[in-house]
């Protein structure tokens, strides 16, 4: 395997819950709990899980924007980013020292309607990261914006238009152009195609794959649509209630999942074939518990089909399975 680009080590994220008359902290919710994984150069890691499992929090933590968006958040652990010269723990950096790394780490958001400023033209939107991070002259910047728009499949003449004049797919292309403006090495894509129609979704997926080849990008691809994640990812990581329950090669995790939660999640995915003989669907009992009130032991045990007594006591750790992936369940 190629060299690591980003290592997440024992990351925990806790958000405060404010309450009472004087808005003091009444509780903490642990959105991400002792999470570790490595992103290798040039690969795509798909991060899946149900809503509330902490996948977006992980994406934001990696870009180190949690402190800005959620005051009072408590971060533990390390996020080691490997540049050509050194390895730096992003979480230990303050705003100023973080700035040079923001060029390397860009994010594409889920909702192409709220992630573009409606008062800025496309030119201004895509130019913005260049203004902040590069020393280019206005002419050079304009030239770069035109080339970026062309690259993502938009006509350069569109540069003077405003976001509301574009369809969802086109807006997502603008978001992608903005992320690529500063030549990042790692792109965090947080549900980039979930808001798009089926026919447009495949266009954007193809674009992301092409750009990865052209620019040698590494993707962290966060999504809940498992068939899309399977298509685009080299490796897949499955999260449940803030913890990693399984991580491994895309083929293995998708076709031979080891953790009972991954199995249930995959068996719930509908397949576009009316006559396909579906293997017995694993029914998940109940709903995902609130992260405020996590079950003891293995947090999946109240819904697990193969639960044992010791699941209620011991917190399982990731271990390697025969099929090659790591899964946090000792009984498979």
């Amino acid at each position: 395997m190629s060299e690591p680009l980003l290592e997440v080590r024992n990351l925990s994220v806790r958000f405060p819950i404010w309450g009472g008359v004087f808005r003091h902290k009444v509780a903490e919710v642990c959105a991400v709990d002792d999470l570790s994984f490595t992103l290798y150069k040039g690969e795509t890691l798909g991060l899946v899980g149900e809503s509330g499992c902490g996948k977006t929090t992980v994406a934001k933590a990696i870009c180190n924007i949690l402190r800005e968006t959620a005051p009072g958040v408590h971060l533990e652990g390390e996020i080691i980013f490997h540049t050509q010269k050194e390895a730096v723990d992003l979480l230990s950096l303050n705003r100023t020292r973080m700035k040079p790394f923001r060029e390397q780490l860009q994010i594409i958001f889920q909702d192409p309607f709220s992630s573009l400023n409606p008062r800025m033209t496309v030119q201004e939107i895509v130019e913005r990261p260049l203004k902040v991070h590069s020393a280019k002259t206005p002419n050079q910047r304009r030239e770069r914006v035109f080339r970026l728009l062309e690259r993502v499949g938009l006509q350069p003449e569109y540069a003077m238009r405003y976001p509301h004049e574009f369809s969802g797919g086109q807006r997502q292309r603008i978001g992608i152009a903005r992320a690529l403006a500063v030549n990042p090495t790692l792109v965090v894509a947080d549900e980039p195609v979930s808001a798009l129609d089926v026919s447009v979704q495949s266009q954007v997926i193809n674009l992301l794959l092409d750009l990865q080849d052209d620019f040698g990008l590494t993707y962290l691809f966060v999504a809940h649509d498992l068939s899309v994640v399977y298509h685009i990812s080299d490796r897949i990581a499955v999260m449940y209630l803030g913890s990693m329950v399984e991580i491994g090669g895309a083929e293995t995790v998708y076709h031979q999942p080891a953790h009972p939660y991954s199995r249930a999640l995959l068996s719930a995915v509908p397949r576009p074939d009316p006559t396909a003989k579906r293997t017995e669907r694993i029914r998940l009992k109940g709903e995902i518990p609130s992260p405020l009130n996590k079950p003891c032991g293995c947090s999946f045990h109240p819904r697990c089909a193969i639960v044992q007594n010791e699941c209620m006591v011991n917190i399982p750790s990731l271990e390697e399975k025969e099929t090659g992936q790591l899964a946090a369940c000792p009984f498979t």
Binding site: G169, S199, H224, S227, H231, P270, I288
Partner: protein, 341 residues
């Protein structure tokens, strides 16, 4: 043209449809003029079947469903032509009071976002009871029991206690269960579900779809119109499928016909652009070029001609009719004229 569609053999099938939509046209008055959101849509719904209506955003599938319930805001909307035949009467010509009776007791609807469809200031119990009290001559006590029973049937644990809870105290999946209870409490003959699982996670989606099908089969016997953009959901749940694009029906057939032998270039493109989940991964996905044109820029001929890979000159000028390929399979494409019966 209208007559051609009227004489489709679906109406000659052994069963007679419970609901027939005929040449429905819905227009919206907007700044630039009149926008035709639904342009001559016809389909039938048979007793006890699950009919899937698929299409991308802007294809007119939700507007068509809202027209069946006569819930199109007028103005700016207007059902300008067509018939909706239900139970021997045209729903477009009944009085407001009669329509009120039809909604809820005969035809019920589930909406996509259960948080906005439920009233946040009333308890769940009140809202389910209200439906019963409005439509049936029962006492409050009885309505209460009916509501509890219905909530239990849709799988809400501890239903009697939860009657006093407000919508925000329920999770997304539980709210959608409440919506289903609300829709089915008066035993409607038709249930229209508009993207019922789009806002939910896959595991919850599977639970909700299973619940809907189970209630349909075992307990209420209602026919279901399932409106969705998710082809996989349709493949798993529906017997027949209507594919819509640009406010028109492009292909109708059984699920096997549409998924295994799609004949319209749009249906073919949609199915090909889904990421394959079995076998080897392909590098690139098939794409339908371009975007859905805005409703004011729809081409004059076939609505799909701007994006079609098999387009011929005739498509740009002449609207294709819905050709009958036999066995209830209909396709709106000029290329199939020779195959038509």
């Amino acid at each position: 043209m209208a007559n051609v569609e009227l004489s489709n053999p679906l109406t000659e099938a052994p069963r007679s449809p419970i609901l027939s939509v005929r040449d429905l046209e819905v227009t919206f008055r907007i700044d630039d003029g009149l926008a035709k959101a639904v342009d001559g849509v016809s389909f039938d719904l048979y007793p006890g079947e699950v009919l899937g209506v698929v299409g991308e955003s802007g294809s007119g599938k939700t507007v068509a469903a809202l027209s069946i319930m006569r819930l199109i805001p007028d103005p700016p909307g207007n059902i300008s032509a067509g018939q909706i035949l239900f139970d021997g009467q045209d729903l477009l010509h009944v009085t407001y009071e009669q329509m009120r009776d039809v909604r809820g007791t005969q035809i019920a609807m589930i909406f996509q976002e259960p948080m906005t469809a439920l009233n946040p200031v009333f308890t769940i119990g009140m809202q389910v009871m209200e439906t019963v009290l409005t439509h049936e001559p029962v006492r409050r006590r009885e309505a209460f029991d009916r509501a509890v029973e219905m909530l239990e049937r849709v799988g809400i644990p501890d239903a009697r206690k939860r009657m006093n809870d407000f919508p925000h105290q329920f999770s997304g999946g539980m709210r959608q269960r409440v919506m289903i209870a609300l829709a089915l409490v008066c035993h409607p003959k038709i249930l229209i579900a508009d993207e019922p699982t789009t806002a939910l996670d896959v595991t919850t989606q599977a639970q909700i779809l299973e619940l809907m099908l189970e209630l349909e089969r075992k307990q209420t016997g209602a026919s279901i119109i399932l409106i969705t953009h998710d082809l996989a959901v349709v493949a798993e749940t529906c017997q027949r499928v209507v594919v819509m694009y640009g406010g028109m029906v492009q292909e109708v057939g059984t699920a096997e016909q549409v998924f295994h032998d799609p004949r319209h270039p749009y249906t073919k493109g949609l199915l090909a652009s889904l990421p394959s989940t079995s076998g080897k991964k392909e590098e690139r996905l098939y794409t339908i070029p371009g975007n859905v044109p805005s409703i004011m820029e729809m081409p004059a001929g076939c609505k799909f001609c701007t994006r079609c890979s098999e387009v011929i000159d005739r498509c740009r000028t002449e609207k294709p009719r819905l050709y009958d390929l036999g066995d209830g399979h209909f396709v709106r494409c000029h290329l199939l004229e020779d195959d038509a019966k």
